[in-house]
């Protein structure tokens, strides 16, 4: 008797646990209190506040829609796990990166190739979304772009009589001069492996040639050939670091640069809000990485930092679309750009912040190129390989490893 009771209780417990999961999913999708609930999932913790304000405005205009601002830590992994569970949020806001590519390939998103919204978006960013996913159709609407650029301390530049370098030689000369004056040229933060990427991306994008990854896939080239110059230049930059560069992380670097501990900071514009938080009075400027000695050819690395995709399984695609249209409206897009120091993917909207003046020309000319690491599978773990390179500075070994890892990952597929 006792045993039977225990069996019943345990199975009841098991089933209630299982059904609890199902209930939750239903609840999310269903209307709660006459309102349609849509989940807006994005990967930008720094933009959470901005989105909160925009959502409030949207909900006021559309009282019957309730938008949930979901922004968990490690969002890419969470999103993949949810995709595997087939429990996708209604709207997904991520960058045009491998997470997006994998999800798009897995058929998680609504096809928006014919959407009228795309008419208003700069074609180069739409192309990037296509290129990253490797698909013919468009599965997301690009919203904001970032820029991978050198941040410099204007006060230190003035003090040392330096001007913004336009060529690689000028860049190294400036670093040399700063070092000679007893200051740190670059504040490296190699404890966080990914902080090697901004500089390396800019170097690789400007030296790898236009068809590198297509050629690589066809076996016509290798990292040993295409990435040699970039890697050598990267190692050259390492000479101008500081003493504890292997022990400091991204957060340390933002504070140190804000305090004027280095003249330049090899990051991207996403670091600016954090720097400003540490020292609101800092006078800083940005310029594109001068990678070659031909300033006409310098291209600014700029990727789609935020795109919106509607998941195929959404129960309220109409409402989701309405929210995206709302975010794409000029005034709202402008509010986002101003608060996030981002560049808009919308045609005709320029970033007017004087701090970002140095990048205006590249955007006006369209001298833009996507992040090369968006095309390198994450299981290669480029960031950690680069971190290794900062320690042993062995260019040959690094390039060989890259080729070997590329082959391995391709073989395992």
């Amino acid at each position: 008797m006792k045993k039977a009771l225990a069996l019943i209780m345990s199975s009841a417990l098991t089933f209630s646990l299982l059904s609890a999961c199902a209930n939750k999913a239903e609840q999310n999708a269903s209307e709660s209190g006459g309102k349609v609930k849509i989940e807006f999932f994005h990967y930008k913790p720094e933009a959470r506040g901005t989105f909160d304000k925009l959502i409030e405005k949207f909900e006021k205009e559309n009282p019957n829609i309730d938008v949930v601002n979901a922004n968990p830590p490690d969002a890419g992994t969470v999103l993949k796990a949810r995709a595997a569970k087939r429990d996708m949020p209604d709207i997904v806001g991520v960058g045009a990166d491998t997470t997006f590519a994998e999800l798009a390939k897995a058929g998680m998103f609504e096809d928006v190739t014919k959407a009228p919204e795309l008419n208003n978006i700069q074609p180069s960013y739409i192309q990037m979304v296509k290129d990253v996913s490797g698909l013919e159709r468009v599965y997301a609407i690009p919203y904001a772009a970032n820029a991978d650029a050198v941040i410099y301390n204007k006060a230190i530049f003035k003090e040392l009589g330096l001007s913004v370098p336009k060529t690689w030689d000028e860049f190294i000369a400036a670093a040399e001069k700063i070092k000679a004056a007893g200051k740190t040229p670059f504040y490296f933060t190699f404890k966080d492996a990914w902080t090697t990427l901004p500089a390396y991306n800019a170097l690789a994008a400007n030296t790898q040639g236009e068809t590198f990854f297509q050629d690589l896939n066809q076996g016509k080239t290798s990292f040993e050939k295409g990435y040699k110059e970039a890697t050598e230049k990267f190692v050259e930059l390492l000479k101008y670091g500081h003493k504890d560069q292997f022990g400091k992380g991204y957060a340390d670097g933002n504070v140190a640069f804000a305090k004027g501990e280095s003249a330049m900071y090899l990051q991207g514009i996403w670091a600016i809000p954090e720097i400003k938080k540490a020292n609101p009075n800092i006078e800083l400027g940005v310029f594109p990485y001068p990678v070659t000695n031909n300033p006409e050819q310098t291209k600014l690395v700029s990727g789609v930092d935020l795109l919106f995709a509607i998941s195929k399984t959404s129960k309220h695609p109409k409402e989701a679309k309405k929210f995206i249209d709302f975010l794409l409206k000029e005034e709202n897009a402008k509010a986002y750009m101003a608060e996030q120091n981002a560049f808009s993917a919308i045609k005709g909207l320029t970033q007017e912040d004087p701090m970002l003046e140095g990048l205006k020309e590249s955007f006006a000319k369209g001298a833009l190129v996507d992040f090369p690491d968006h095309y390198i599978p994450p299981s290669i773990n480029l960031a950690n390989l680069l971190q290794q390179l900062t320690h042993d500075q062995d260019v040959g070994k690094f390039l060989k490893t890259m080729d070997a890892e590329w082959e391995k990952v391709k073989g395992r597929k």
């Binding site: 045993k3 225990a6 069996l7 209780m9 345990s10 199975s11 417990l13 098991t14 890419g76 992994t77 993949k80 796990a81 995709a83 595997a84 491998t98 994998e102 999800l103 390939k105 897995a106 058929g107 998680m108 190699f190 404890k191 966080d192 492996a193 003493k243 504890d244 560069q245 292997f246 022990g247 400091k248 992380g249 340390d252 599978p377 994450p378 299981s379 773990n381 950690n384 390989l385 971190q387 290794q388 900062t390 320690h391 391995k408 990952v409 073989g411 395992r412 597929k413």
Partner: protein
């Protein structure tokens, strides 16, 4: 009451484990709706993957050093706390505290100490090796992880040893004191043999826990510099969930499971034999 336990265990543990083994023979990336069977291909590539070998090397080095340190230290602390000292209960509580704290919080606190406090001291004392963050050094980062892992693991093993020490009958010590035995002789010939079963369980548990090290590494180095401190479980997590190679890393997990089981069984066999001998 066995049936519910078995049911729950089967649903939430055995079944997912079997699923993992199943996926290790496919090429599923973790997301797609479809996958193909690829037989033993994943295993074939696994044995050629330097990164996998390297993660095993690091993990075993870390686990062996940490296991030895934890057992020596917790036994010493337990013996100290078992003596008749003032504020005994207070000290027992203090030494147990690390076990209650979350690994991630401890990790971030130590991260701060290694990044900011320790280099300051190193500079003041003129020790070159300490003047930079040791977590950023390829050679020494693993030592930083050992320090944190041992600091935290000691608490639990100390409790187990304390429990063991209380099972030793006090008559034995009375008898030995009549014979004029020294403290060391007491330990060597009475205490240690009497708590042999506790030594076994502590060794096995510590080794198993350290072989599965994950959160300490995530909080301290994220596997860096390079891949210097990438443990097996971190490698599986990174490759499987972020790298989109779910099936491949499932194969790695299967091997990992077998390795840990083999190590634990070998340890138990060896140490239990020793218990009888003593």
């Amino acid at each position: 009451m066995t049936v519910p336990a078995v049911v729950l265990f089967a649903v939430f543990h055995t079944f997912p484990a079997l699923q993992g083994i199943f996926y290790s023979f496919t090429n599923w990336d973790g997301l797609s709706l479809t996958y193909d069977f690829v037989g033993l291909k994943n295993y074939y590539y696994l044995f050629q993957d330097e990164n996998v070998w390297h993660s095993y090397l690091f993990t075993f080095q870390f686990a062996i050093v940490s296991t030895v340190l934890v057992n020596v230290l917790s036994l010493a602390i337990a013996i100290g706390l078992n003596e008749k000292i003032k504020f005994k209960n207070f000290f027992r509580a203090v030494y147990f505290l690390p076990n209650v704290l979350s690994v991630l919080i401890v990790g971030y606190i130590f991260n701060y100490l290694f990044a900011n406090v320790l280099p300051l001291w190193g500079e003041k004392l003129g020790i070159e090796a300490l003047s930079t963050n040791i977590l950023g050094s390829e050679k020494w980062a693993w030592v930083g992880i050992v320090i944190v892992a041992v600091w935290q693991a000691c608490a639990f093993n100390t409790i187990l040893y304390l429990a063991g020490l209380q099972t030793v009958p006090s008559e034995l010590y009375e008898a030995s004191s009549l014979d004029g035995a020294s403290k060391w002789q007491n330990f060597r010939h009475i205490t240690f043999p009497m708590i042999a079963p506790f030594f076994t369980i502590n060794m096995v548990l510590a080794m198993k826990n350290f072989l599965m090290v994950f959160d300490q590494v995530v909080a301290l180095t994220g596997g860096g510099p390079g891949r210097a401190t990438e443990s097996i479980s971190l490698h599986i997590y990174n490759g499987g969930f972020q790298g989109g190679e779910f099936a491949y890393q499932s194969a790695n997990s299967v091997i990992y499971f077998i390795v840990i089981m083999a190590v634990s069984i070998a340890q138990i066999k060896f140490l239990q034999k020793r218990e009888v001998d003593m």
